[in-house]
């Protein structure tokens, strides 16, 4: 920060820009070109079933999109999915991180085990949950239910969105755990001791020292996770295929359906633009919220 370009002499500024140019150019191509193409296609009447009947359609695709009830279902599902998964992974990740930050016998092994779900590929996660855990006949959950004398639950058909939320949370809690744990380990021990001598109990210690210390790290976790949750696809594809009905159709799945089932490139491009807008709205809210909290935390 100290070497900001405003401090640099004019002589030094010019090469800085030129040196930055490749990176900026790369980013531009990487982001702007696909975005521009998507925008272009969203304004086209373009169906792969009738590739030669192609032409400018104006905002027709957007009209169709906004009047499609499935789109609104998908939007709502996406928001629900992101919100609940964020809540679960951050709370569970934080709890686990606090646990693993203590010393106990076998901590190394336990920590490795706790982190391993993160290394399972999303499709595999979907299959594991669908067949090994949630299956009403062979699944582990139904076995537990039965052995306790209950009727097993048909998870994927009775609680489809909840099932998907469970899978994604299972997969991503380790991520939150890992990052929050590194955050906890960078907290100087003497601050905890100081606050203990200052008369804080366990909760106050957590509230006034640990949580503010984790602020930045929490921000990173929430940002990264919401980006990934917004685009979750493989888990849904491998288990519920967006169903039953539209119960687990989120935006990515909706776009996929539009492009590869209805072959309607115009419509799915429009939906993709919608997803981009949504992601940006989320990002702005999150940044506001987290930054506000950080400031509030630092003001006291």
């Amino acid at each position: 920060m100290s070497a900001s370009p405003t401090n640099a002499s004019p002589k030094r500024r010019a090469p800085t820009r030129r040196l930055m140019a490749p990176a900026v150019l790369f980013l531009l191509i990487w982001m702007i070109v696909p975005l521009a193409m998507t925008l272009y296609y969203s304004l086209q009447d373009y169906n792969l079933m009738m590739p030669d009947m192609r032409g400018f359609a104006g905002f027709l695709s957007y009209e169709l999109l906004f009047t499609d009830p499935v789109f609104w279902d998908a939007l709502l599902n996406t928001l629900l999915l992101v919100a609940t998964c964020l809540l679960i992974t951050v709370v569970a990740g934080l709890a686990l991180a606090l646990l693993f930050n203590r010393t106990f016998v076998g901590r190394g092994i336990a920590r490795t085990l706790a982190i391993s779900p993160f290394f399972v590929m999303p499709v595999v996660t979907g299959l594991i949950w669908k067949y090994m855990l949630l299956d009403p006949v062979y699944g582990l959950f139904s076995w537990v239910m039965r052995s306790m004398g209950f009727e097993p639950i048909e998870w994927l058909s009775s609680y489809p969105l909840l099932s998907v939320v469970m899978m994604i949370s299972w997969e991503w809690t380790p991520f939150a755990l890992l990052i929050l744990l590194t955050g906890l380990q960078s907290l100087p021990e003497d601050q905890l001791e100081a606050v203990r001598l200052d008369g804080a109990n366990r909760w106050q210690e957590f509230r006034h020292i640990v949580l503010p210390h984790l602020g930045q790290v929490l921000y990173v976790v929430v940002m990264l996770e919401s980006i990934f949750f917004l685009t979750s696809f493989a888990e849904i594809y491998a288990t519920t295929s967006g169903g039953p009905g539209t119960a687990t159709t989120n935006l990515p799945y909706y776009i996929y359906l539009g492009a590869f089932y209805q072959y309607d490139i115009g419509l799915s491009s429009a939906a993709a633009i919608g997803a981009v807008v949504l992601a940006n709205i989320c990002a702005i809210f999150l940044i506001r919220f987290v930054a506000g909290n950080l400031n509030a935390g630092s003001q006291r």
């Binding site: 100087p188 003497d190 601050q191 001791e193 100081a194 606050v195 203990r196 001598l197 200052d198 008369g199 804080a200 109990n201 106050q204 006034h208 020292i209 503010p212 210390h213 602020g215 935390g297 630092s298 003001q299 006291r300």
Partner: protein, 382 residues
Amino acid sequence: MAIVELKDVAKRYDSMPGKKGGEHANAVEDFNLITRDGEFVVLVGPSGCGKSTTMRMIAGLEHNTAGEIRINGQDVSAVEPRDRDIAMVFQSYALYPHMSVYHNMAFALELKKTPKDEVKKRVQEAAKILDIEHLLDRKPRALSGGQRQRVALGRALVRQPQVFLMDEPLSNLDARLRVEMRAEITRLHRRLGVTTFYVTHDQTEAMTMGQRIVVMRDGRIQQIDTPYNLYERPLNRFVAGFIGTPSMNFLQADYQGDTLRGEGFSCSLNPHQQAALGDAGQRARCWLGIRPEHLHQADTFTGSGRLEGAVEVIEPLGPVTMAQVRIGETLVTAQLAAHLEVQIGDTLALAFDPDHVHLFDIDSDRTLGLETDPAVSAQATA
């Protein structure tokens, strides 16, 4: 304000490997001390001797594995740190980075639900004493080392605790600031009269600040005494060498008749010292200790102690010059006049007063003749 009492206190860390022989396997051992109300006690000793451990046990951050700690007569072994009403100043300051200076200082009071006006008043007061009023809105990261140090002190001050603990609070400051803060802490203590434990590895700090000094080594107390007594009457060779800069010189000497002799030096003893060595019976060998400031150039000083050797190092310090003279295997340091007309390699004759000689047992390193020291017995009867 409080009387702190440590009785046979010991600490053994679980992760500590037992050293060979198991003799010094404890981080702290047999720690006995009773403070007076409002006393300023300094713990001093080389790094790793258990000073911090002792402080942390008083604070309750570590449990003592043996013995008893009492504050105002109450055994505090079952009292949580937060209920001990002790404020600690850490070497690293341990300020809360996300809080302003004001909140750092107010935090403990706010936790106790002190009324806002009262909090404000006390923080302002402490800030004024420490001259940090203009910093109250800043974050710790925007402060210099000396300012952080003051905030850390202020955070302890506003609490008006029963006991202050300070663990090497000045060791991260530069030399000049350290001297300044040293005086300031002493002044604060005189003003507030709160019982204070102060840890340092710097004997100068200990000597200038402590009303009583606890010299520690390898987890054991070597001596508890006033600065003057530590300097004049060290109980053993370790304390003698640790207190005073530059350190006391030690030479192995033989006792014959009424004189001590060794290669390059000799010294006739006073009756009291003769008695001390006479007590030692067979032990004709002993350690002779003489402080650099008690060595003088022989041509300007008439003492019966003589010492002669080649000069190896000359360090002019301004007001005085330090000369190191080779005596057998050891380099003896002498504090001499500023204009020293001697070159490296010259033979330098030094003289000293036998009354300034300290004698130590050759095996146990204990000071000889303490029991018969007229000054000590005078003090005991006083």
